[in-house]
Amino acid sequence: MVNMMNRRGLMLLGSVIIAGSVMSGCASSKNEAGAGGKTNSSNEAASPAVKVEGPEVYGIKLTDMDAGGTLKGQYKGKKIVVATMAGDTEKALKDAAGYFQKASGATVEVQSFPAESYMEKIQLDLQTNKSFDAVVMPVALIHGFAEGGLVQDLKPYINNKDLVSPNLALDDFIPSLLDIYGNYKGKLVAFPYKPDSQIFFYRKDIFEDPKMKESFKAKTGKELTVPQTPEEMLAAAKFFTKSLNPDSPVTYGYSTMADNTASRWIWTNRLAAFGGKDIDKDFKPAFNNEAGLKALQFAVDLSKYAPKELLTLHWDEANTLFTNGEVAMMEQWPGLMQAAESDKSKVKGKVGYAVTPGGAPTMGGWSAAMSSATKNPELTYKFLEYVTSKDLEVLKIKNNMDPTRTSNYMRPELKKQFPMYPTLLDSLTKGKILADPDVPFVSPKLDDIMELNIQSVLRGELQPQKALDSMEKSFNEVIASTGIMKQ
């Protein structure tokens, strides 16, 4: 997802890298009592908690507005700055910051930057100006910051009994999210903030149509069911493609967004399903094998049932095709749900959700981390803990930030409001490959390499095996240039 941003921002990247190499780097100062030390909260342990009235969201009355009684206005006069991308993440953080300020007494400034350039801006500041106390960013970038020592381990703060909220419940985070989003080389460098997984959206109405079922059986000899395997997906895509089956109620069997920032996910959605991986734990490419080849050949086969302009489709265009009722099946990020279920959608109430066929969807996701240079580590930790707490997660849903905690997916109010949630939880549990290869510093570059090769294969200009060879070679060169590859 990193390179979904406009390439204009990348013009600044060169400058940022130069700056990073010539300027002061990865300082890790701790200016407050901090992790293991005596805390402000312990100093004021006797103080009563500040009463903050929680709102009612989706019929749920939020009650844990003072982090289990650990926020007592004890941070009055202090200020932290949180940096993120402009838009929903910013709005969600600002909403939560309002309550946090009341409970803690501190001031929280949320600074946001445009989607096309926030990465460079935030990295530059972390390396030089060091004005951010916390950052909320995509997982792969946070791991890069962790490798560079720009963000710090949260475990010492969690282990500080005087500081930590009694309601933290680390084991309530979806285990795979805490592991993939939060952990890096044995440290907990971030809390999961926004989960993301490719979801299989399908037209429930046509999959359940008795006429379609009968016709499918007559043509294939099999029952028409919601595809769970790649083979079933291919058969359904072929059946629903109007050019091959004039009786199909839709034009295309399959679609997704597959422009030169997103086409790799058609491949990665099947890569793990066939037993492959993009990068192994030693930062070596792990896709040039039978699994990689099968997944890539599958992407080629599937694209035959997609719109001709598949390789130019991005978010808006791809979603419009689906919401206009022209597509039977689509793999997309959860945000499609809002468009599909909106009043203007022609498929409102007709969409079903499932785990991507093969059962190993590609995962995205954002996490919240603490800068190594923060002058208020204790306060910053409390903010991160607060915005990822069980109750505050419910508050951020209205800004399209889905929960990262299992218990929130179990709330009946949310299950009723968001019928996709059981599928999302299932997908998040099964996801194995990240949308951007989890290699510090070079993740966007690796995205570009994959896009270049996969686009060439889907255009018919390159054979799948040659593309895998080319990708492996380029991956090795780029990753070797970082010096992080284990020997």
Partner: protein, 276 residues
């Protein structure tokens, strides 16, 4: 007959160019007043059928664009005034006086203009960090003035060079001091040049993106290009109507400036260096 054919060819070319220049503006304007479903309609709705002001309401209520608009207005206006004040004098000096190293400094000034602006961003960032100018509108004015100086000096030199030397000789004979010649003779004559330079500098500062992205942080210091760019999100439908409304609002000052000073612009383009 040949004259008519020539005129027809010119008219055809002008029509094509006018269409290419005007259509994006027309499309932005009409998109800003269309309801969402009409914006994404296929085939496109070339002439709006239904009108709405919701997009403008969103710009002001949800995106706090009014404050940002005034930030941009302050930065662009201050940049223009300071730049013109400095370069009207600088251009005069380079044009009228012969001094040791003159050519060197003229070419150095012009060469600075040829260096890609992105190269200056990191040095600016470091300097501003040291002197406390990060996240300050005054800092943006400083960098915008610096960026505009070479072109403005070059333009003013062209305007002053066009003035006949006899005017200055007469002024000398009338007992005018060097400052008097500048203030009472050159400056009134260079008014079209001041207008042209002001518009170019204003538009440059008004549209500037990269420097404000790197040098500002907080919401209350954002400028229009940055704020409009922030309306585009990943994994979310692009709010085309809101962006068009914000773009339309952003066009207003430059359009007003251009229309109200059209007379001077024509004079300026025919009098100064910009005539090519």
């Amino acid at each position: 007959m040949k004259r008519h054919v020539n005129r027809l060819i010119v008219a055809a070319f002008l029509s094509v160019f006018t269409f290419f220049f005007m259509f994006p503006i027309y499309w932005t304007l009409t998109t800003s007043i269309k309801p969402k479903e009409a914006i994404i309609k296929l085939p496109p709705e070339w002439f709006p059928v239904h009108f709405t002001l919701t997009n403008y309401a969103d710009v002001f209520t949800q995106n706090h664009l009014l404050r940002i608009f005034f930030n941009s207005l302050f930065v662009a206006s201050a940049t223009t005034v300071i730049t013109v004040a400095i370069t009207a004098l600088g251009g005069y000096g380079f044009s009228r006086f012969r001094f040791r190293g003159r050519s060197f400094w003229v070419y150095t000034t012009i060469i600075v203009r040829m260096i890609p602006g992105l190269l200056f961003i990191i040095p600016y960032y470091v300097m501003f960090q040291k002197v406390g100018l990060l996240d300050k509108l005054s800092g943006l004015v400083i960098v915008n003035v610096t960026a505009a100086l070479p072109l403005a000096i070059y333009l003013f030199m062209g305007f002053y060079n066009e003035m006949p030397s006899e005017i200055f000789e007469s002024a000398t004979m009338d007992g005018c001091s060097e400052y008097g010649k500048f203030a009472k003779v050159a400056l009134p004559l260079v008014t079209p040049g001041i207008v042209v330079t002001s518009i170019l500098v204003f538009i440059g500062a008004w549209n500037e993106f990269s420097l404000s992205l790197i040098l500002t942080f907080s919401d209350d210091k954002k400028l229009l290009p940055l704020a409009i760019s922030s309306l585009i999100e990943v994994q979310k439908d692009t709010p085309l109507g809101t962006i068009a409304a914000a773009g339309t609002i952003a066009m207003i000052p430059t359009v007003i400036l251009s229309l109200t000073t059209q007379k001077y612009i024509v004079e300026g383009f025919t009098a100064g260096a910009v005539k090519g």
